[in-house]
Symmetry: D2
Subunit: 338 residues, 4 copies
């Protein structure tokens, strides 16, 4: 089959990364088009990557006959509308999370996907494509750790990027929607179960501004899942050491820890500070390969006529859970899931 011709939408930090990856690191795909409202940045990037089509309007992109698929890395508020538009136009769709910014948008996205069963739709839960998470998941599925007892996940952004966190904060949906959402996906993936109850707490430990939009700079929640697994999630914006995404699955026969030391690379330094590992800074560094792998899987699905493991319903479910965590946090109560 010919290469999948992809049009990538949005040239923010992650959008640019996806564009570069499609242009040079994805087999069986090519970056046929770029779309961004910022004309000069669009032109410069398209020139650099040798992209033949450039659009400032999403409508023009999906009208283009020379593309098979779109990769959406646009602002969250546009996701649902663009998913629907692209699918209606007969384009395969890879969208960064979230599916939509509220429950009704998620339902709308579901309908759009259901209306085009001939199209591949995939949501960007990239952690599932990280080799360490895959390795751990294989072990869990193979029964190597027995029955899951506790799933614990941390997602922490470094304090040194707090200015960005504060600027983006009011539009982020809060930490449960913006950060914990990946951990919610992992919790469901690793336990094969759904949450039953949640209690959520947190606060503004360093930056009172987060309270302005009913968020905290650090939050956590404890959930009981239907299969009895305990799930503890912690998300924070003030990590002193770096970008810290760590996950632990305690089972009755074994325990797995993924990235409990967020090492930047394989170098260990011994100096006046002791024996130390320097830490990574952000998601692009930590999940570099995972971002390639997920789009590779998207391209492979298109070429092989398959559907990805993650469905649009997973997207809806993860969002619903995050909303409920957020509600529990805001109200200070124990909530039960439907």
């Amino acid at each position: 089959m010919n290469k999948v011709k992809i049009g990538s939408v949005g040239l923010g930090r992650l959008g640019l990364r996806h564009a570069v990856n499609i242009a040079s690191r994805i087999q069986g795909a090519e970056l046929a088009a770029l779309c961004d409202v910022d004309g000069p940045k669009l032109a410069q990037t398209a020139d650099r990557l040798g992209v033949r089509h450039r659009f400032t309007a999403f409508e023009d992109l999906i009208a283009c006959k020379d593309i098979d698929a779109v990769v959406l890395v646009s602002p969250s508020a546009l996701h649902t509308k663009q998913i629907k538009g692209a699918l209606d136009a007969g384009k395969h769709v890879f969208s960064e999370k979230p599916l939509g910014v509220n429950a009704s948008e998620c339902k709308e996205a579901e309908k759009a996907v259901e209306a085009r069963p001939d199209m591949v739709f995939m949501l960007g839960f990239m952690r599932r494509f990280d080799e360490s998470y895959q390795y751990a998941h294989d072990k869990v599925v193979a029964g190597e750790i027995g029955r899951p007892v506790l799933f614990r996940a941390y997602s922490q952004d470094p304090e040194k990027f707090i200015a960005g966190s504060l600027a983006f904060g009011p539009h982020s949906g809060g930490e449960f929607l913006d950060m914990a959402v990946h951990d919610i996906d992992l919790a469901r993936w690793f336990t094969g179960s759904e949450p039953e109850t949640v209690y959520a707490i947190g606060g503004c430990y360093a930056h009172p501004e987060f309270a302005d939009w009913k968020d905290g700079d650090n939050v956590s929640c404890l959930m009981k899942f239907k299969n009895e697994t305990m799930v503890f999630l912690f998300a924070g914006r003030t990590a002193p050491h770096g970008y810290n995404v760590e996950t632990e699955i305690i089972g009755t026969k074994g325990i797995l820890r993924v990235a409990s030391v967020p090492q930047k690379n394989l170098v260990e330094v011994l100096d006046e500070h002791g024996v130390r590992r320097e830490c990574g800074e952000n998601f692009l560094e930590r999940f570099d390969t995972a971002y390639v792998n997920e789009v590779q899987e998207f391209a492979n699905c298109i070429r092989e006529g398959r559907k990805p493991e993650v469905t649009v319903y997973d997207g809806t479910r993860v969002s619903e859970i995050a909303y409920t965590c957020k509600a529990a946090f805001e109200q200070g109560v124990l909530l039960r899931f439907k």
Copy 2:
């Protein structure tokens, strides 16, 4: 001043350890008497350690003029009565936790302590005397990690000792009272605050028998403390790797992890299982030095006319918190502390 003459009560596993420590590792103290209901074991141990007084009845021990202080390592149900008896008889008292098996016993112990302000009373929260916990606590007090955000603690017994856990289980008070109590003490010590709310969950993941006494083989709880610190505790009986007591304090400026790898010693093994650290088996191994240090502090307090940092009220408070965690777990609800 002369050596403090100590009578040690109870020759179970920990009682024997305390006896040996007092006999040979505590400066300024001597093991003057032993007390245990098991006559032959008493005689044998006293002979081995060269102890001059032996009693099968606690009343006889406290009537002995030749002892200044007692160390209580008897069954929990006897603690309150023995604390009161010894203090009334004018003996300094070191008691293993718990202070009492219910709230009224704790109050009774408080009164006994209040009635003898001339006596030293100390409760066995040995973790506070572990050099790693002390080192971490010093850093927290010095402000090195900024404001505490999350306190996380695990206390796990190895699966290989499950038979003992099951046999002792019905009398243990459950995991919150038996295991998490040390973590509750640490949480208060490290945060300098008290809990406000608690949600607790868990279950029988490998051993359904624990449900017979309304316990789980693994449990956890999430508490919000008055100073907003989030506190997550996990206690389990099925650790696949060994005795695992680990504690993490996440602050706004730094994070401390105590014993995140429960290494048996400083040996690293590289073989067909990878690069690995073998793990310790039990509390006696992990807290060997702490058990010496706490009794040393008890002896020092007596000799120097000081009172220990931990008071009888700490004992009561920790027990109350553990009861509330247990109630939250049994009822499946969110509880607020008084």
Copy 3:
């Protein structure tokens, strides 16, 4: 500039990896031709990777006008001849180590390179392109560890591949030439100096067969470099835990350790064997990205009219040092370098 059209020679394990990398992971390059004596394998691989030219004879490859550069992953004994042939034919050359199998071959290769200053020649010292080694090297160059005192490097193949090591052994040139050669390159790169003396020892600790070709299954050497840096190299074929390539640079101000735990990924397992990291198996896994980066640099040099940092003289020098180590080992004496 147009994409660099590369013809890759040799489809062994590493040759296949290079072919796949050029076909899909190198920017600004394309896999225009493949060459291997095994016709069916050649056809199958070329079909799979969509390669337009296929050659069973090297002469035909270098006669092809449609290629700009060759990547040599052929047997060591062919390197010198193919380097010369390709350069003479006006092709840029990337060759896996070694430059030649003896000193005169190395000189011949040097002459071939000198005769074509318009061509890019690069030798495959891939470790220099590993991000951890680069990170460490940057620190050394920046003076962060002060003056280098000791450079220590281990290169160990897993015992489980011993059959392959034994089969290849007689043709490998021995451990110093086959394995330590990368560490020799690193030692020169990190210290910026050259060896003055060497003492080398070793033996057949598990597999007496290695003695048949005057090799050991594990060997080591201690060298004093001209700038006084001590250099200790260890190479072995019987690693019980996996593929272990670790390097330590001890300086007066700091110490760097690269990959002191040869972790397979970011997963830590806690089970009956303790707390452990599973290990990687081979060089393709450990240096996956480095193999991409080095060929990327080769392509970049061609496109940008630059020469690589590593020169043909480095290839000669590293080989000479390895021969001397081998001689010291075989003779059991201390040797001085010229």
Copy 4:
């Protein structure tokens, strides 16, 4: 049997530690006498530890009827003479290393020991009494790592104590005698073999003063042992991170690393420097328990009529090896052992 009455000689840093240990941490022994040329320090220490006999002259100590044994922590130059004097006087002797400052002194010490087979003589190779080294040694003896291939040991003092190292340097005998001697002992203990050849190098990387007494601030040597084990030792005075004593035994079936991270305690710090372990500072901290254990074994041997595993001949042999390493270093040649 009654307690062993010990007279401890020398109140330097280690001498004071031994005195305190004997006074309070050794079972079946008591600190009956102290001896030091510094009268005021002697009086103060003896008062603090409640010691009944005090001597400023060694002759008076060994004439005292009320002591059974001496512990020698005096300057190295006095060891042989004091060993002989004490044995002749019918006292059991524990001596810190070295046995003597040259070969003839070692022989003299041997004769003194041989002349009194009724006395216990023990040399302070404390590392053999460290629980991690013992654990590793047990595994080696049990065959768990197969045949030893490489023994690697580092002994590094922190740069921050360089003033002391420089002051003591001229009297230290050099790094091989002063520091590597413990590693030489370990190498013999772990391999059960003796060295055959040695090549030694090093230099003054940070402190040229060491050259004044033909020493280096960092040195190393590579030895081949009779059973073919390769032995690499490194000793340095400029460790940037702390007191670093690490040992690795690579076998054909497994590898053991003792203290490859010289962690101060079980606390891990995550802050702006990364994820780090703070390091210990000196031998008293690292080998605290080992110093107790070795004197405990000395006391036990006396009480049980046994002889220690380490003999006076081990002391001589280790010294001889260290002299040969030193000679190889000074002459820059390969030396063969007799």
